[in-house]
């Protein structure tokens, strides 16, 4: 599997080299399963740690906060609960900023350190890692697995395969359940599930997730990274020669050659440090050869670094034949510091802007929102004493956790106007918009214009600092 590869001996660009290139062009389209070897090492440990962030995905929804689910993305009732915070559809603009923030984080990280997300955090990587870990526990190491795959169907093979698939499906079921309970009460969901009492939508989501997880993590594996994931395709745009990524030091490693026993007559000195042991390929979860250079299939997980380091230790050579390094460093060009990297600054600037927007939004959520719609038919009514009365429909959104009462007052408008319909404080239920009607009656002699600006305020009677404002019009007949 190679994308067009940067060969060290570029200067030999004869026509015949094209055929040579073609001969090397092989595409991993999933004909053979990649059985990667698990080797301990720094990056392996790091990967275990980062992948364990997904435990939050599995167990986060069970967390309670003041008698309710701490984080509940309640799409059915159109509100998100995050601890004390309630986010209603009116605040959804913050979600777009959040998406921007996440995208920018991804871009910035990619520009500095390549596909860190792919290698250490991605759900595909993590679930495949879990699935292959299960596979290894049941079917043994990669060699044993290759043999088992090729072996005829015996009782033992069937037993192993059945157990493996059952555990995979169990993990998939748990994944599906864990996903769903972010969107509804976890304990109620389990209750409904155990009574086989889910709604059609709930069943569909669950089954889709079970099948998806089982198929993508159990069978598709690295094919997802290479042929399905858009990020793998666009990351090349974000990486440049200053980006650090797992790289093979070909100046040091080439010409590669197998290690021979002492005294076999082959002079060792002419060769580079790479002993062509293929350990880096063996451990690769996507089955690429890192020595071919940076490529589409590389998720920059660093497992090949672990493998190569352990081999270098054994043959008594310094570590780092494969290491996290930029292209500049490998080619001996001056290496820039991170702050000399203009692209990073652009990303950081957008990142800070969107973060600022979210913080502004969260701190200025406003517990009350007011919308006032003036009646259009009729625009005004003449009353028996000659005064003009306008009708307004108030919509008050209460985003606090409890029902409150509001009083109504005005600013502007016509001198001597009276508010009718809000003599008693109005009840505003929490978590939804409450509407009520207010009339404003003004003496005709004080009305100067057909349209006068009027500002309405609703004020929480228990906490006068909580208020919301809306500016609209008072309409009167032409005179």
């Amino acid at each position: 599997m190679t994308e067009p590869v940067t060969k060290p001996n570029k200067e030999v660009v004869g026509l015949t080299s094209l055929y040579h290139e073609h001969a090397e062009w092989k595409v991993n389209s999933g004909e053979s399963t990649v059985h990667a070897k698990r080797m301990p090492g720094r990056f392996r440990t790091l990967k275990y740690i980062t992948e364990s962030f997904w435990l939050i995905f599995f167990f986060g929804p069970y967390l309670r906060w003041e008698g309710k689910q701490a984080i509940l993305l309640d799409i059915n009732n159109r509100q998100f609960h995050i601890f004390d915070l309630t986010i209603l559809p009116q605040d959804i603009w913050m979600v777009s900023l959040l998406l921007l923030l996440l995208a920018m984080t991804l871009f910035a990280v990619t520009s500095v350190a390549s596909r860190v997300f792919c290698g250490y955090f991605c759900f595909q990587t993590s679930w495949v890692d879990l699935f292959t870990w299960i596979e290894e526990k049941i079917e043994g190491n990669p060699n044993a697995r290759h043999k088992l795959d090729a072996a005829p169907w015996t009782g033992d093979k069937i037993r192993k395969k059945v157990i493996k698939h059952l555990i995979w499906i169990a993990v998939s079921i748990f994944t599906g359940i864990s996903f769903t309970i972010w969107f509804e009460d976890a304990y109620l969901y389990w209750h409904d599930l155990l009574n086989f009492n889910l709604t059609l939508l709930e069943w569909s989501v669950l089954i889709a997730f079970i099948l998806g997880t089982y198929y993508l993590a159990g069978f598709m594996r690295e094919q997802v990274c290479m042929w399905l994931c858009p990020y793998a395709r666009i990351q090349a745009v974000m990486a440049d020669s200053q980006t650090i990524l797992p790289a093979y030091d070909d100046k040091r490693g080439e010409p590669r050659g197998r290690l021979h026993r002492q005294g076999s007559g082959q002079p060792e000195t002419e060769k580079g440090d790479c002993i062509d042991c293929f350990q880096c390929v063996q451990v690769c979860p996507t089955g690429v050869d890192i020595r071919d250079g940076q490529q589409l299939g590389c998720i920059t997980c660093g497992l090949c670094i672990d493998a190569c380091d352990s081999v270098m230790d054994k043959i008594g050579r310094p570590r780092g034949l494969i290491r996290y390094a930029s292209l500049d460093e490998m080619e001996g060009r001056p290496v820039h510091k991170l702050y000399q990297h203009p692209r990073t600054w652009v990303y950081v600037a957008i990142l800070l802007l969107s973060l600022g927007g979210i913080i502004y939004g969260l701190t200025h959520l406003g517990a009350l929102t007011l919308r006032v719609a003036p009646e259009r038919q009729p625009l005004f009514v003449r009353m028996s004493d000659g005064s003009i009365q306008d009708k307004y429909t108030f919509k008050v959104l209460n985003k606090t956790g409890k029902d409150i009462h509001v009083s109504v007052r005005t600013e502007g408008g016509v001198k001597g106007q009276k508010i009718i319909g809000a003599e008693e404080p109005k009840l505003v239920a929490h978590g939804r918009a409450t509407s009520f009607t207010i009339f404003v009656k003004a003496p005709e002699e004080n009305i100067e214009k057909e349209v006068t600006e009027i500002e309405f305020y609703v004020v929480n009677t228990e906490d006068p600092s909580m208020e919301a404002e809306y500016t609209t019009k008072f309409t009167a007949p032409e005179h």
Binding site: Q377, P378, V381, R382, S384, Q389, K391, T434
Partner: protein
């Protein structure tokens, strides 16, 4: 021109060749695609069996489908009924409460009265808006014999002037039993001059106020007619009218009929519902005892009208 002699290599072709070199590979479509095609074809057959999909009538009947598991044969009317049930469930909790409440109690409940204002809008449009106008703004009645406006077809409902009272109870009463006021024609009892005088006097109430009109020498003749003829019997000496009999308040700024001098004279001359062919007609039909609307519907309408803007507390 072009020299692209691509050969199919070792791949099998169908053997057909067009334009010397154009060949057709004998490759199978992908397996998943073939499976999808087969599954779709099967689904068509299942769909035909489940739904009434064959519109061919044999011996007067047609294939009605074997139906969906659990819900029997599918029909459009059944689907409508089910949707209606969903709607009724939402409304039901309010409608049930309404049955046991008086309109005054409904008004006292903020949430319930908001529901009523929304749901009674359709009732109002169907039953009331023809005369009272959409949202109770009133409709202007055009003259039958002249092009002159003859005033409103029915009173404006969002002001605070009520012929029979604007409390929730009287509104409910008005809708239930209907109303039909009566003003006698004065063409035989008053002279044309007297009618002209009294019309100017009444008009002055609105322009100057009742107190000033009483002392205005220009309308003194009209005042004399008003006080000495039968006007005060219904409209009262203060001209404020009596809601018990539905006589209009003549001193406020709201006119039931045409407010021009000509219009006022017409009203006085021929009366209202007086039997005279030229008389003004003002009849509020009976919606309750006639059985046109249910009691709950009337309650809802009463609350709706009350909340239009002019409702008066008991």
């Amino acid at each position: 021109m072009s020299n692209n002699q691509n050969s199919a290599g070792d791949d099998k072709t169908t053997g057909h060749v067009w334009d010397d070199d154009l060949q057709d590979f004998a490759n199978q479509p992908p397996k998943w695609w073939m499976l999808g095609l087969t599954a779709s074809a099967l689904w068509v057959v299942i769909y035909w069996l489940m739904y009434p999909a064959v519109p061919i009538s044999i011996t007067g009947t047609h294939f009605k489908g074997i139906g969906l598991p659990g819900s029997g044969q599918w029909t459009a009317i059944k689907e409508l009924a089910e949707d209606q049930k969903v709607l009724d469930n939402v409304r039901g909790k309010y409608e049930d409460k309404l049955k046991g409440l008086t309109p005054a109690a409904i008004l006292a409940d903020q949430e319930l009265s908001e529901y009523v204002v929304r749901s009674a809008r359709v009732l109002f449009s169907d039953n009331c808006a023809a005369c009272h106008g959409q949202n109770g703004v009133g409709t202007v009645q055009k003259g039958k014999f002249s092009m002159r406006e003859r005033g409103l077809m029915a009173p404006i409902l969002n002001d605070d002037d009520w012929l029979y009272g604007g409390t929730i109870g009287t509104i409910q009463e008005t809708i239930t039993g209907g109303r039909q006021g009566m003003m006698v024609a004065h063409k035989d009892t008053l002279s044309a001059q007297q009618i002209d005088d009294v019309a100017h006097y009444v008009k002055a109430f609105v322009e100057e106020g009742k107190d000033k009109a009483d002392n205005d020498p220009a309308v003194a003749a009209g005042m004399k007619v008003f006080m000495e003829s039968d006007c005060t019997a219904c409209h009262g000496t203060d001209a404020h009218g009596m809601q018990a009999m539905g006589s209009a308040n003549l001193t406020d700024k709201i006119w039931r009929f045409d407010s021009s001098i000509e219009g006022i004279k017409h009203t006085i001359t021929y009366g209202v519902n007086s039997g005279d062919p030229e008389a003004r007609v003002a009849i509020m039909p009976n919606f309750g005892t006639s059985g046109k609307l249910s009691e709950t519907q009337i309650k809802k309408l009463a609350v709706y009208v009350y909340k239009l803007g002019g409702g008066q507390p008991e």
